[in-house]
Symmetry: C2
Subunit: 390 residues, 2 copies
């Protein structure tokens, strides 16, 4: 029985993880749940799963949840708040495995704490790896702590990497759906609206990641994540546009063999893989190969998707540049969704913030968080200046 | 340094193996060469590779080769003939690895001898596995002798099987080009000529295997081979028509993940994989994923390709039925190429021979060879009777 701490339990990955626990009660149970501001859903999850500990974004929300639990006659569940709460979930003595699915850098400290406490981690939070991947992977390696990717692309790469050694990998190919603007004429990019950017062709996801798919910055973050997770330089991590989103990624070996992983586009599959690794439990998530009629692959258009180029540049420079890329994008996407800047203002904001960012290589999580806030500050300045010009 | 015995050295797989030895002189050398009737090529190969032993189809040809070698002043090479010769090559003390690439059941005894002598075997001879797979795999398992498939499909399966355990495999998908008659109207099958059947869309191969691709009997033999090699029942070995021949096969796991192997269509790649396993040496056999634009997959049409159905039936019944299938097909294809029977006479011959074959389960190689000649005898009778009717 593997007892899980689910960080980000009320989000999409958290809920999918709980549905896996539901399907495999003989394999998994819930030790800890860390959520954000959704007290109602957290309350229902505690009722259903009775974890040893639950945490919300802050003390006030924790107090609200504790009150509701007391009123419902629920006892024996520790209720905490803030970063200390999510860290307590990740490091709780009853936690055997941590699912890191808090969106953004908010999940960073708890993920780091899990590694220091030698808990195996299933990683669904790509911002953690982008901002602090060098620190997290080094500390995981030193402590021999497994980091199992839950992102479908990296999960596919993890599977395909089992068919050879790391030194035998020539390059990794991350597949990208190409987003909704793969065929949009270049001159129409300036007038893309939030409504258009929020329509993703294959995956239903949160707002930021959907816009990030439209700019392909999301794929850029995944390139950086792959570099960190699999210890590869950016030139060995390539992107191929595959609109069907059924090949989740490919690994090319030095002998010329390419291994590809194919499956339904359902996050429960990589979650189950990460939880059960190295085992593969049977699931009902069957892909109908007989129904598969075609798969397309084409190179990404860097002119159309400048965010992808910026991500490669940040990946090559490492350190603070990856932090700044992620932070600037988050601020810029928010401004775009609030109609403060146009679609093309997203890469412009990122590029300006990257230019403004002084060279540094944070060696601690505190240093990463500090660099992250500085980059956000700069991004907000850039966005405000741009908004004035609009 | 791995010293190779190459059984079938003058054939296509044998020559590709020698080109691998040429490219990796620090990894491989030639201990033994077994050829058939091509004395000229065998002579050149001995001059170039100086094996400890060389063997030809019979004593007479061996004598001819010995004479030419003596005339050329070559000494220190043992020259043998017949099955005893190929067995001596396979079991020679200097042999570290046996490439089994003699076409047809002629290679059976040497392959068997290699396993008994505990030599790892790279298997390019699918007839061996079809006719005697139950015996060979059992004996290899008992002696812990690696059997590494060189057929591109089985090689792909072998790679994809490394991403889970055997018990976690739901089914294997062998890809088939579909041959030249994938879209031919059914009513035109009766008038297919040898010239039409010998035009294969993607692979350049020998005559029998090219006709076997056109009838899809070849894929049927591969289904049986996969059952034996990977210890799977026929219902777990599926066929998918993939005209581009770039995905060499796929393995579907119980959790819903499908792993696929993609590469150039060049036999040197699976040969290198088998020779080097578990290592992967770098090669120049690069597949250009960026140039890959589409991959099609469709279910095979059993009405169009009755040979495939017959192979599944033989696979399910096992034992003598697989032997009869292979033997009857070889006789029927020869008769078709000699214009004695029409194209549709091939499945008719096989079906009749299978119906005539009494149930038995040969437990020795001698028993297999005996069943093979009986099936050929029956097939010749069927073909003669059919030829009289044409």
């Amino acid at each position: 029985m593997k007892r899980l701490a689910i960080l980000g339990s009320t989000g999409s990955i958290g809920q999918s993880t709980l549905s896996i626990v539901e399907s495999y009660p003989e394999r998994y149970s819930v030790a800890a749940l860390a959520a954000g501001r959704n007290v109602g859903t957290a309350f229902q999850q505690v009722l259903r799963w009775r974890p040893a500990v639950v945490s919300l974004a802050n003390e006030e929300l924790a107090g609200e949840l504790a009150g509701r639990l007391a009123a419902a006659g629920v006892t024996g569940v520790e209720v905490l708040g803030g970063t200390a709460g999510s860290v307590a979930c990740a490091t709780h003595p009853e936690t055997d495995f941590v699912v890191s699915a808090i969106v953004g850098v908010a999940g960073l400290e708890a993920t780091h704490a899990a590694i220091l406490a030698r808990k195996p981690v299933g990683l669904a939070n790509k911002e953690c790896m982008v901002a602090a991947g060098e620190i997290l992977t080094r500390e995981a390696r030193e402590r021999n702590v497994p980091l199992l990717p839950i992102d479908s692309e990296h999960n596919a790469v993890h599977q395909c990497m089992r068919v050879g050694t790391a030194a035998e990998v020539k390059q990794v190919w991350l597949t990208a759906s190409g987003g909704p603007f793969r065929h949009l004429p270049l001159q129409d990019f300036a007038s893309i609206t939030p409504e258009q950017a929020l329509k993703h062709p294959t995956w239903v996801m949160g707002q930021r990641i959907t816009v990030d798919s439209a700019t392909m910055l999301n794929k850029g973050l995944e390139v950086i994540e792959a570099c960190r997770l699999f210890n590869l330089p950016p030139e060995q991590v390539r992107v191929t546009v595959h609109p069907q989103s059924t090949v989740h990624s490919l690994v090319e070996y030095v002998d010329g063999s390419i291994l590809a992983q194919i499956s339904v586009t359902d996050m429960r599959l990589p979650i189950l893989y990460a939880l059960a690794y190295p085992e593969r439990p049977a699931s009902s998530l069957t892909f109908d190969l007989a129904a598969l009629s075609r798969l397309d692959f084409e190179p990404p258009d860097f002119a159309r998707f400048p965010c992808l180029r910026l991500a490669y540049e940040a990946a090559a420079r490492g350190g603070v540049h990856c932090i700044a890329l992620n932070a600037a994008d988050e601020v810029a996407v928010e401004a775009f969704l609030e109609r403060k800047i146009p679609f093309l203002g997203i890469p412009r904001t990122i590029e300006t913030v990257l230019e403004w960012t002084p060279e540094s290589h944070p060696e601690t999580i505190a240093g990463v968080l500090e660099a992250d806030s500085q980059a956000r500050e700069r991004a907000r300045e850039v966005v405000s200046a741009a908004a004035l010009r609009v």
